[in-house]
């Protein structure tokens, strides 16, 4: 298809989406009135999606399709010492939506020893807990032998309790120690990393206290230097304007799912307002949400967040997966403001122009065309979404053509583009689990604990579902929420950690029979933010000896993402059979461009802004 005809198709599609979405969100007057008066919900609410699972249209077969996977994910949580149960809401039955969202986690090298540690967000229950038995977030230190030690006590992270949601990491004060931000239904917490294994709660000092009397339902977060001043700003999505004193119980609607009474919402409940905090460069932040245009889009039930330069203009944009609503794409206007272009960009709705229940989001260039694409998890009964970036943030919904439209049954949360087999092409994992624990009592073929979805990139714009080939860790049912991707044992293969609801987490180790090459890049900003978040890295290598040309891979370093989670901040690129990396190009947010040639494979390179290689490490592979 020529560029012109493709543009015409895209234009028609956008017009169609606009016309379809016109009525979708214009609430009937009676509903508006009922919500405003909070007397009762507008009537019975049954949350349901009914997308048809479909195989992709026939096309040229990839030589990879149907071949052995070469990797197997095995849950090693018991051996790892991470087996501490995450508490979140009631078990078996939930009264309120608040009990359903669960928690994220972080692969986070808090002590900068080169080994990924794990931070697990924890939650709460409606009835509370006796003193001394409150659930708390956990920090596990990597013992470098496949096991972890709980070092929460004495770390400074143990004091806060509550309905924990997401976490994200970034060095907000550019002191060389990556800091930790944790969101809550209630007051969020910014933990300054003291660099000695301890943290200090600097929320108040940093100006991040949220004024009452309303309790905010803060959800996904990301550190993002949106104004490129070298200081990491902070974006926090908000879900529902929710008050336990006035929230409707399941009987109020009544709110049902497959005939079962379930927690009400978010449809019928007022949406929250996302927040953008500007980093003042002196350890404090200022709420600039309104003047930055964030509140021009409100009430969209924001959950997960991912920030990246989606229109290739050198400025980070922000994508928000919204539950039961159109997604939001805040395009950076380069003047301190944002404009929501999600609908016109084509990354907001289903292929039929319907709002979906977005949960998690990941960004990556899966087709290696130099544009960052978006994958989003959605509700049970619906497909997940794959939005392919045609450039300039014009997206085409390739859910069905790509092959990920083959599944509609499970309910997705965490998600990640990641190169599981080190072939240089991004695969996809989705962590699933039903939102309603009541489904375990249903006669329908539904379970609260669900298995993962795993898709292999066929290198031709398509994915092959390889869930059943992905190992016992993929097929194991778990009530999953957030998941994070990182190489915790430094063996050059990406592993997955999953936080679950009222269950122990999962640590899915990637066992591989493939002896493929890789390179990891750790960034150290100087003029740009110290963590290097927002930096674009382009890796060029000849990944196959018989390939006519080298493979060019591109990615950006991100804070937050997936569902409420943080991935390894060391950027990982699979290189298959490459013997060297021809070029690593690093485009920092400051405008600095560094090019390094002829780098070794199977190495971690720590690269400072300006191009200085601070360290080359072979790791243990």
């Amino acid at each position: 298809m020529s560029t012109n005809s493709r543009n015409v198709v895209t234009l028609h599609r956008r017009r169609l989406l606009r016309s379809l979405s016109r009525t979708a969100l214009v609430l009937p007057f009676a509903d508006v009135l009922a919500i405003a008066q909070q007397i009762q919900l507008p009537g019975p609410i049954e949350r349901s999606y009914d997308a048809k699972p479909m195989q992709p249209p026939k096309g040229p077969k990839s030589p990879i399709e149907g071949t052995p996977l070469g990797v197997s994910f095995v849950d090693v949580v018991k051996e790892s010492g991470l087996a501490v149960k995450t508490i979140y809401g009631g078990e078996g039955k939930n009264k309120y939506l608040l009990e359903t969202t669960g928690c994220g986690l972080a692969f986070y090298d808090y002590d900068d020893d080169g080994w990924l540690d794990i931070f697990l967000v924890n939650g709460w229950r409606l009835e509370g807990f006796p003193a001394g038995q409150e659930p708390r977030c956990h920090l596990f230190k990597n013992n470098r032998d496949g096991t972890f030690t709980d070092v929460t006590k004495g770390s400074g992270l143990e004091h806060r309790t509550g309905w924990g949601q997401a976490c994200c990491v970034g060095d907000y004060n550019n002191d060389g120690h990556d800091d930790l931000f944790v969101t809550y239904y209630g007051q969020n917490v910014l933990y300054r990393n003291n660099g000695d294994g301890t943290f200090t709660d600097v929320t108040e000092k940093a100006g991040l206290l949220q004024p009452g009397p309303k309790t905010r339902w803060n959800t996904g977060c990301t550190f993002v230097d949106y104004d490129k001043d070298g200081h990491l700003d902070l974006f926090v999505a908000n879900y529902v304007d929710f008050d336990l004193k006035t929230a409707p119980p399941p009987e109020a609607g009544p709110c049902t799912y497959k005939g079962l009474l379930v927690a009400c919402g978010p449809p019928g409940l007022p949406g929250g307002k996302n927040i953008l905090y500007h980093n003042n460069g002196d350890g404090t932040f200022t709420d600039v949400s309104q003047k930055a245009g964030i509140w021009n889009t409100t009430g969209t039930y924001g959950l997960s967040v991912a920030a990246s330069d989606l229109d290739n203009d050198g400025w980070p944009d922000i994508y928000v997966a919204n539950d039961s609503s159109v997604a939001t794409l805040y395009q950076n206007q380069k003047d301190g403001t944002f404009k929501d272009i999600a609908i016109e960009s084509g990354a907001a709705l289903s292929p039929e122009g319907k709002p979906q229940a977005g949960m998690g989001v990941s960004i990556g260039d899966y087709n290696r065309d130099g544009n960052l694409d978006v994958v989003k998890t959605n509700f049970a009964g619906d497909t997940d979404s794959l939005y392919t970036n045609l450039g300039d943030a014009a997206f085409e919904d390739r859910t069905y053509p790509s092959g990920i439209g083959v599944n509609t049954r499970l309910l997705g949360w965490g998600v990640g583009f990641f190169d599981m087999d080190n072939d240089g092409w991004l695969d996809i994992l989705m962590s699933n689990g039903h939102v309603y624990p009541e489904v375990d009592k249903s006669k329908a073929d539904l379970k609260y604990a669900e298995h993962k979805y795993l898709y292999r990139n066929l290198q031709n714009g398509r994915f092959e579902e390889v869930t059943e080939k992905g190992g016992p860790g993929i097929m194991e049912n778990a009530p999953a929420r957030g998941c994070a991707f990182g190489d915790y044992d430094n063996d050059g293969r990406l592993d997955i950690a999953v936080n679950c609801v009222n269950a122990v987490p999962q640590l899915l180790h990637c066992d591989s029979t493939l002896n493929r090459k890789w390179i990891k890049i750790k960034l150290v900003g100087v003029k740009s933010n110290r963590t290097g978040i927002g930096t674009r890295v382009i890796v060029t290598a000849k990944t196959k000896a018989d390939a006519p040309k080298s493979l060019v891979q591109m990615d950006e370093l991100r804070s937050g993402g997936s569902y409420f989670s943080q991935n390894d901040l060391r950027m990982h690129f699979g290189l298959q059979d490459a013997t060297k990396v021809e070029m690593v190009e690093i485009r920092w947010l400051s405008g600095q461009v560094d090019r390094l040639k002829d780098l070794e494979v199977n190495r971690l390179y720590v690269i400072q802004e300006g191009g200085k290689i601070l360290k080359v490490e072979k790791l243990t592979a």
Binding site: F29, Q37, Q38, G271, T298
Partner: protein
């Protein structure tokens, strides 16, 4: 109350047909329950009315009506309070006079002047409700 006489009326009590036609061209009026609908082949203006239990509920009411919308702006000198927004491509104004509330929604092809037109309609509606 004026609102409860609508079903039997052939006119819209808060905006007359001539005013609507002056702004939108040849539109037809239909009135049902609490709604006036002025429509033509390419434009539709609806005015819906209701009563809040308390004026303090208006903020929540307006926020809900503009949920998911953009270009949200408070309007001055229209009723006791009013808010404009664009929900998808529907130009919307939500307003209050004492505890009577209204939502004006306009869809029309010329998107540039929609805000101006809805604001003019809102002035008429609020004025009639006082």
């Amino acid at each position: 109350m004026m609102l409860f006489l609508w079903a039997a009326s052939l006119t819209c009590p808060v905006l007359n047909l001539a005013t609507a036609r002056g702004a939108l061209g040849e539109v037809q009026l239909s009135v049902s329950h609490n709604t006036c609908r002025f429509s033509s082949s390419d434009a539709e203006l609806t005015i819906e009315m209701g009563t809040l239990a308390a004026p303090s509920q208006f903020a929540h009411f307006a926020e809900t009506a503009c949920q998911g919308g953009h270009d949200i702006a408070p309007l001055k000198a229209i009723g006791n309070e009013a808010l404009a927004c664009t929900v998808q491509t529907v130009e919307t104004i939500v307003g209050r006079v004492r505890n009577q509330t209204f939502i004006i929604r306009l869809t029309a092809p010329n998107t540039k002047s929609l805000r101006t037109k809805t604001t003019a309609f809102a002035e008429q509606v609020a004025g009639n409700l006082f």
